[in-house]
């Protein structure tokens, strides 16, 4: 085996190989049910075979970029990354899992919102990666996202691929024109006041929502506002909390903005988001995950210098200004004949500095691997944002005491109920408390969960 490159890479490679060798041996002892593959029990460097990876667009590009480096360590393993599209990937995984895992790819890119559902509804379909030496990575990832990828008994079903802290993106040119100083905006109340000023001065709405929620779900803002108050649809015990004080306050803020006439109604789609980034369908602000910082420089390249990024304002003065806005995982399917090789690829792409550098450079997904995001190369000034160290804004959020978000297996139902409640508020002027109570009742009726008192 030949190594090219510097000492760090070599050290990483040797380390990875050693860990894998040890862990695959350990796996043999722990998991007698694992189908014996030709590679199990031998050194990692001798892994052979072909593994396929299911992902979509930008994340797929990132993973593809990890292949050359991976193959230097494992020349016997061929990796094929398939861009199967999002949301098509969820139906693909669902139907394969419902068929007992037939036809699943070896490595699956899974959204945090689907993770709990797959783990609970299709038990045994995702491999416990702690048996493949990935358990030791726990300390290298932020605790919240790491925990959401775990099973009830601490099984490691997914390694965080994207960890999206929240960016508050604002149009510096519009703020300037309206005479609003963004640093004075501490809370969402401040922001709505500023939004009115901006609307009056420039005619541009503060932000956009898909009010009817007919094109896609439209709950990102509500989720952010609820997160900023340390709450979510469910609490840690899985009881329904979407209609608690935090949930109602979040919907009241949205209603208030809508009543002020500063919310544009733009159907939710990627094209419409890009139109906002480019200023074709102008909005003064939007909130998005950390990945947006990189995406803006690509799709909104003509707007350099006109976008700024900050932490989101707090809901109550002095409250949280950080929220984990979703994320994705890499998992290995249990029916994969090549689990060891698949796990080795996941480990290389997400759990090594070299792999992370390649993945981040090509895909731009905001990573979760702490040794990488705390490295100096990651926290560099970005010309597009006037030389601001944009990634620091996201990194600093990982230090705040954000709640561990419990998506449960019923997230999709709760999301739908919330969307419908919000639509009633935005289009019919309904009362937030009333519609959220009804939504909570509906989710309770559908899932048998109880509403938290």
């Amino acid at each position: 085996m030949k190594f090219h490159g510097n000492r760090t890479r070599r050290a990483v490679a040797v380390f990875t190989t050693a860990v894998l060798a040890a862990s695959t041996l350990a796996a043999c002892g722990q998991q007698p049910s694992t189908p014996a593959s030709p590679t199990t029990g031998t050194g990692g460097a001798e892994l052979t075979g072909t593994i396929t990876v299911w992902s979509w667009t930008a994340p797929a590009k990132g993973l593809e970029a990890a292949i050359p480096g991976f193959q230097k360590l494992y020349p016997g393993v061929e990796v094929e990354v398939q861009d199967v599209g999002n949301p098509a990937i969820w139906d693909k995984i669902t139907t394969s899992m419902a068929a007992g895992g037939a036809g699943l790819a070896d490595v699956l890119n899974i959204g945090i919102d689907y993770m709990g559902n797959y783990v609970e509804k299709f038990p045994g379909q995702l491999a416990d990666l702690s048996g493949f030496g990935l358990g030791e990575l726990a300390g290298d990832f932020p605790a919240g996202p790491w925990k959401s990828g775990q099973g009830a008994k601490g099984e490691v079903y997914g390694i965080p691929y994207e960890v999206n802290a929240t960016g508050f993106f604002y149009r510096t040119d519009l703020f300037e024109k309206a005479g609003v100083d963004v640093t004075t905006i501490k809370t969402w109340d401040d922001l709505l006041t500023a939004g009115k000023t901006i609307m009056d001065a420039t005619g541009v709405p503060l932000f956009a929502l898909d009010k009817a929620a007919t094109a896609a779900d439209s709950a990102n803002l509500w989720q952010l506002l609820t997160n900023l108050q340390g709450s979510f649809y469910f609490d840690a015990a899985g009881d329904i909390t979407l209609n608690n004080a935090a949930g109602v306050k979040a919907l009241e803020i949205i209603k208030q903005a809508n009543d002020l006439g500063i919310v544009a109604d733009i159907p939710g789609s990627w094209d419409n988001l890009v139109a906002q980034m480019k200023g074709d369908k102008p909005v003064a602000t939007f909130t998005a995950g950390g990945w947006m910082a990189g995406q803006l420089t690509i799709d909104g390249s003509g707007m350099a210098g006109k976008w700024g990024v900050a932490k989101p304002p707090a809901v109550a003065a002095g409250g949280l200004t950080a929220a984990i806005n979703g994320g994705t995982y890499l998992s290995v399917s249990n029916t994969s004949p090549n689990k060891a090789a698949a796990a080795a690829f996941v480990k290389y792409a997400l759990g090594t500095l070299e792999g992370q550098e390649a993945v981040y450079a090509a895909g731009g997904m905001f990573p979760g691997y702490l040794p990488f995001i705390t490295s100096t190369s990651f926290s560099k000034p970005v010309d597009y944002y006037g030389g601001a160290r944009v990634n620091d804004i996201f990194i600093s959020q990982l230090d705040e005491d954000t709640p561990v978000v419990n998506y449960t297996s019923d997230y999709a139902r709760a999301l739908k109920a919330l969307d419908d409640a919000q639509t009633q508020v935005l289009l019919e002027g309904a009362d937030p408390q009333t519609v959220l109570d009804a939504a909570a009742e509906l989710v309770a009726q559908q899932t048998g969960r109880t509403i938290a008192k």
Binding site: T94, K121, P123, A212, P267, S409, D420, Q424
Partner: protein, 313 residues
């Protein structure tokens, strides 16, 4: 085949022995009895594998529930839950509103179109027939994108047209009532041509002498339509009414691509609700129960329609 009974017993068995081979010979014409089944076998296997098995499997699924990954027998729990589910009733109501508005409008339009297609006054008939039939072959996704663009509440072409004549804008996809109307319009656009072609085939089977006789008796165009065309169309009308009703009760494609069942469940159909429960919430037991409930409803309505439209003896 010949009689092969042993000598001496021939007399005793002769009536039966003679009759049986005789009948066999006529029935099989020299081939084994199971020959027809052999030819039917592929169809039987396909039917068993892809129709009977899913039906039985879904029936079983509808009696189970999935808790923590364990599929357990739950008796009629899913059906009881269905009866108490407000969203199921919303879905049923929406489906019936769309059905009651859409099917009569579409069938009436289709009759008018078929009569026009069949008219001797019409030039370039093949062209017209093709134009109206083309929507049928249009793919679901293309059709969804097209209608979304046309009916966009913000900058859709339809609202621009309405604006040009001083009307609107109408919140096509953002308001419950108008979203249903958009679905009705999309369905009508998609399927009217199909019904019209079926009617056209039926019209061409009506003998011309009936019209000539009616004309000779002094019947005008309207009288000829009601007394010759309409009764002649009857079999096709019954067929299309039942097929369209079943199709609309199963409605899924249009709300799926146009509105996602929204806003606020205003276009949630039973088909959409089934899909969402199965493939979004992974609640296959409940989805199967919805499927069986829908099957019962369709069966009952089709029976009623057959009764109502039965020819009087």
């Amino acid at each position: 085949m010949t009689v092969t009974t042993t000598k001496g017993s021939v007399d005793a068995v002769s009536p039966r022995a003679l009759r049986v081979p005789d009948r066999r010979r006529r029935a099989t014409a020299g081939y084994p009895r199971w020959t027809p089944y052999l030819f039917l076998l592929p169809a039987i296997l396909l039917f068993a594998g892809f129709t009977v098995y899913p039906y039985v499997s879904a029936l079983w699924l509808s009696l189970t529930t999935n808790r923590g990954g364990e599929t357990t027998f739950a008796g009629l729990a899913n059906y009881v839950r269905l009866l108490r589910d407000p969203l199921f009733y919303t879905a049923l109501k929406n489906t019936f509103v769309i059905l009651i508005v859409q099917v009569p409008v579409m069938l009436a339009l289709a009759v008018l179109l078929a009569v026009a297609f069949n008219s001797v006054l019409l030039k370039a008939r093949a062209l017209w027939r093709t134009i109206y039939f083309v929507p049928i072959v249009m793919g679901l996704v293309a059709y969804g994108i097209l209608f979304r663009a046309l009916f966009s509440s913000q900058d859709g072409f339809v609202n621009q047209l309405l604006g040009a004549v001083g009307a609107g804008p109408i919140p096509w996809l953002a308001n419950g009532f108008w979203a249903k109307m958009t679905i009705v319009i999309a369905l009508t656009w998609h399927y009217t041509g199909q019904s019209a072609i079926i009617y056209l085939a039926q019209l061409q089977a009506i003998p011309v002498d009936l019209y000539e006789a009616a004309a000779a008796d002094g019947a005008g165009a309207v009288q000829r339509f009601w007394n010759v065309t309409w009764p002649g169309l009857r079999p096709a009308l019954v067929l299309t009414a039942i097929l369209s009703t079943i199709g609309t009760l199963q409605l899924f494609d249009e709300p799926f691509v146009l509105t996602g069942g929204g806003p606020n469940n205003a276009t949630l159909t039973v088909g959409m609700y089934l899909y969402t429960n199965g493939f979004r919430y992974f609640d296959f037991g409940y989805a199967s129960a919805i499927g069986y409930a829908l099957t019962l409803i369709i069966g009952a309505i089709s029976l009623i329609q057959l009764r109502l439209t039965r020819e009087k003896p």
